[in-house]
Amino acid sequence: MIMVHVAQFFWGWLLASLLVGFAMGWISVVQRGEGVTGAPGRALWALVGALLALAIGRIIPGRFGYWLDLGLVMFGLYLVGCAIGAWLRARVVARSTPPA
C-alpha cells in the first residue's frame, strides 16, 4: 500500500512482471503445461499465504522485508498479467475457431 510512494524506483520491474504474466497467460491457453495440483499445490498456496501474512504483519525487518513486499507485489502483478493474457487469448481463440 505505502509501496506506492516509492514505486518510482521499480515501476519498470513491475511492468516487466506484468508483461511476463501476460505472456505466460497468453501461451497457457494453447500450450497447457502440467499443473501443480493436489497437495503440492496447496502447499504452494499456503506458502504464498504465509508470505503475504508476514508482509502484512510487517514481521520481517529491514531489507528482507522490503524484498518480500517487492516480490509479492511483482507476483501479484504477474498473476494479474496471467489473467489478462489468458482471458484475451481465450477470446481470440474462441473467435478464430470456426464453430463445429
Partner: protein, 448 residues
C-alpha cells in the same frame, strides 16, 4: 523468470528507495528541535535515534517519521535529554578567554549564548563546553544573557547560575565595575536572585611623588572626579609652594569614603619632606621619604595617623635628610628672604593659628635656622591696614609668636628668637588693593 526479475528489481531498487526514505524522514523532523538526530534506513524501515527536549517533542518527532511517505516501520531509539538537577550554567573568564560551561536548555539558546559572548566581548576567545539538559528555570536565557554582559566587566572571574541563584566571584576590570555589576543585577528576570557576590574591585590608588631635583610634585592614579579632584589639585598647589604640581590623576569612581579628608593632610605631610612618596591604596596611607630635621620626622610619623578616620591605616617610613652645611649669618638672612619671597606663612583668617598649608615652608625655615646656630633671629609679624590698629598689633604679635613656637618645637633654643609685632605700621605695598594687602600680611625673618 519472475524470480530473476525479482532479484534484479531488489538489487537495483533497494538503495535508491532507502535514500529516498531517509531524505523524507529527515525532512519530516526538520523543524522539530532535537539533539544528536540520526536516521538509518534498511529497506523501508527507519531506525530513528535522537535526544528530545520534552516528552511532547519526542512524540511529535516519532509520529512525523512514522507519517513520512514510504516508511514501513520505525525503530524508536529516541530518548529524552538528561535532566540537570540543579541546573547549573557558568561563564568563566580569564584575561583572554571566556569559557561557557554547564547546562543549556536548547541548542538555539546555547548558540545564542556563544554568539552573545563573541559579540559582547570583542577579541576574546570563547570556549563552549555547555551540554544540553532539561530542567532549566523559566526565563533562563534572559538571565544568562544578562550575566554574560557582566562577564565583560570582569578582568577575571566566574559567574555561576545554579537554578535561579546567581553567584559571582573575581576581579572587576575597572574601578566602579563592581558597582556597575551590582546595578545590572537588579535587572535579573523575575525569580532569579543573587546568592553571593564576591566581585572585588581593583585597588583605588593615589600617588604623589615629590622630586627635589626636578622640583616637581607628580600626582598619579585615581581621584574622584569633579570638585574633589579640583580641591586636591588646589591643595597641592598651596602646600607645595616651590614645586610645580604635575596633575596626572584620572577621575575614577569607587573611592573609599573620606578620600579627600585623608589625602589633603597626607599631601601636607609630604610637603614637609625633602623628597618622598605618598601612596594611598584603598584605605591605607603610606608615606616614605626624608624629613628635613629630627623633630619634623617624629611629628610626621605620629601626626598623620592620629587624625585618620576609622578603618584607615597609616604607615610612615620617614628618615632624616643629612643636615646641610652651616652658613654664616649673612647667607642665613638671604636664605630666609629667598624662602619667604616664594611663599608667605599663612594663618587661619583673623587668628594666630598656623595654616596646615604652610607646614612645608615652616619646616624649610626651621631647617635654615638650624644651619646658622649663632644667629639671633627676630620674627616680625605684620598685618594690613584693615580693622582696628590695636587689634592688628596684637594679632601680628601673636602670629609672630606662633611661628617662633613652631621653630622651638622643631628643636631650636627659644632664646635665639624674638617675636615682634608691628601691626600695619610697616607696609611693603599699598593697602588700597587686595593684592597689596595680601603682601602686607606677612612674617619676616630678620637675622641680628
Amino acid at each position: 523468470m519472475l524470480a530473476i526479475l525479482w532479484c534484479f528489481a531488489a538489487w537495483t531498487s533497494t538503495e535508491p528507495v532507502e535514500g529516498e526514505i531517509a531524505a523524507r524522514s529527515n525532512a519530516a523532523v526538520k523543524d522539530v528541535v532535537l539533539d544528536k538526530k540520526r536516521v538509518a534506513v534498511a529497506g523501508r524501515d527507519v531506525t530513528f535515534s535522537a535526544e528530545a527536549f520534552s516528552p511532547e517533542g519526542r512524540r511529535d518527532a516519532l509520529s512525523a517519521v512514522e507519517a513520512a511517505p514510504g516508511v514501513r516501520l520505525v525503530n524508536d531509539e529516541t530518548r529524552l535529554v538528561p535532566e540537570a538537577k540543579p541546573f547549573i550554567w557558568s561563564a568563566e573568564r580569564d584575561v583572554v578567554r571566556v569559557t561557557l560551561a554547564g547546562s543549556a536548555p536548547l541548542p538555539q539558546v546555547k548558540g545564542r549564548l556563544v554568539e552573545a559572548a563573541k559579540a559582547g566581548l570583542g577579541n576574546v576567545e570563547v570556549a563552549d563546553q555547555m551540554t544540553l539538559s532539561r530542567g532549566a528555570p523559566p526565563r533562563f536565557d534572559a538571565a544568562a544573557l544578562l550575566l554574560l554582559d557582566q562577564i565583560g566587566k570582569l578582568k577575571d572571574g566566574k559567574i555561576t547560575l545554579s537554578d535561579d541563584k546567581v553567584s559571582l566571584s573575581g576581579m572587576a576590570r575597572e574601578l566602579g565595575g563592581r558597582e556597575a555589576i551590582v546595578a545590572a543585577l537588579k535587572n535579573l528576570p523575575e525569580g532569579f536572585s543573587v546568592a553571593a557576590n564576591d566581585i572585588k574591585a581593583p585597588p583605588y590608588v593615589f600617588q604623589a611623588y615629590k622630586d627635589p631635583v626636578a622640583s616637581t610634585v607628580t600626582l598619579t592614579g585615581n581621584v574622584p572626579g569633579g570638585n574633589v579632584h579640583a580641591d586636591i589639585a588646589a591643595a597641592a598647589g598651596r602646600k607645595f609652594f616651590s614645586e610645580k604640581v604635575v596633575d596626572n590623576l584620572k577621575d575614577s569612581v569607587g573611592a573609599p569614603a573620606s578620600f579627600a579628608a585623608v589625602v589633603v593632610p597626607a599631601l601636607g605631610a609630604l610637603s614637609r619632606l625633602s623628597t618622598g612618596t605618598l601612596v594611598v591604596t584603598d584605605r591605607e596611607v603610606k608615606l616614605s621619604g626624608d624629613a628635613l630635621y629630627d623633630a619634623a620626622a617624629a611629628q610626621i610619623r605620629a601626626g598623620l595617623g592620629a587624625n585618620l578616620p576609622a578603618n584607615w591605616q597609616y604607615k610612615a617610613e620617614i628618615t632624616v635628610k643629612p643636615p646641610a652645611a652651616p652658613v654664616d649669618n649673612t647667607v642665613c638672612q638671604q636664605l630666609f628672604a629667598d624662602l619667604l619671597a616664594k611663599a608667605r606663612i599663612r594663618f587661619e583668617s583673623g587668628k594666630a593659628d598656623l595654616s596646615p598649608d604652610s607646614l612645608g615652608l615652616l619646616d624649610r625655615l626651621t631647617e635654615t635656622a638650624l644651619r646658622c646656630p649663632t644667629a639671633n633671629i627676630e620674627i616680625a609679624g605684620h598685618t594690613d591696614a584693615d580693622g582696628d590698629a590695636t587689634q592688628n598689633q596684637a594679632l601680628s604679635e601673636k602670629r609672630a609668636q606662633a611661628v617662633a613656637d613652631y621653630l622651638v618645637r622643631g628643636g631650636l633654643p627659644a632664646n635665639r628668637f624674638t617675636a615682634a609685632g608691628y601691626g600695619s605700621t610697616q607696609p611693603i605695598a599699598g593697602n588700597d588693593t587686595d593684592e597689596g594687602k595680601a603682601q602686607n600680611r606677612r612674617i619676616d625673618f630678620v637675622v641680628k
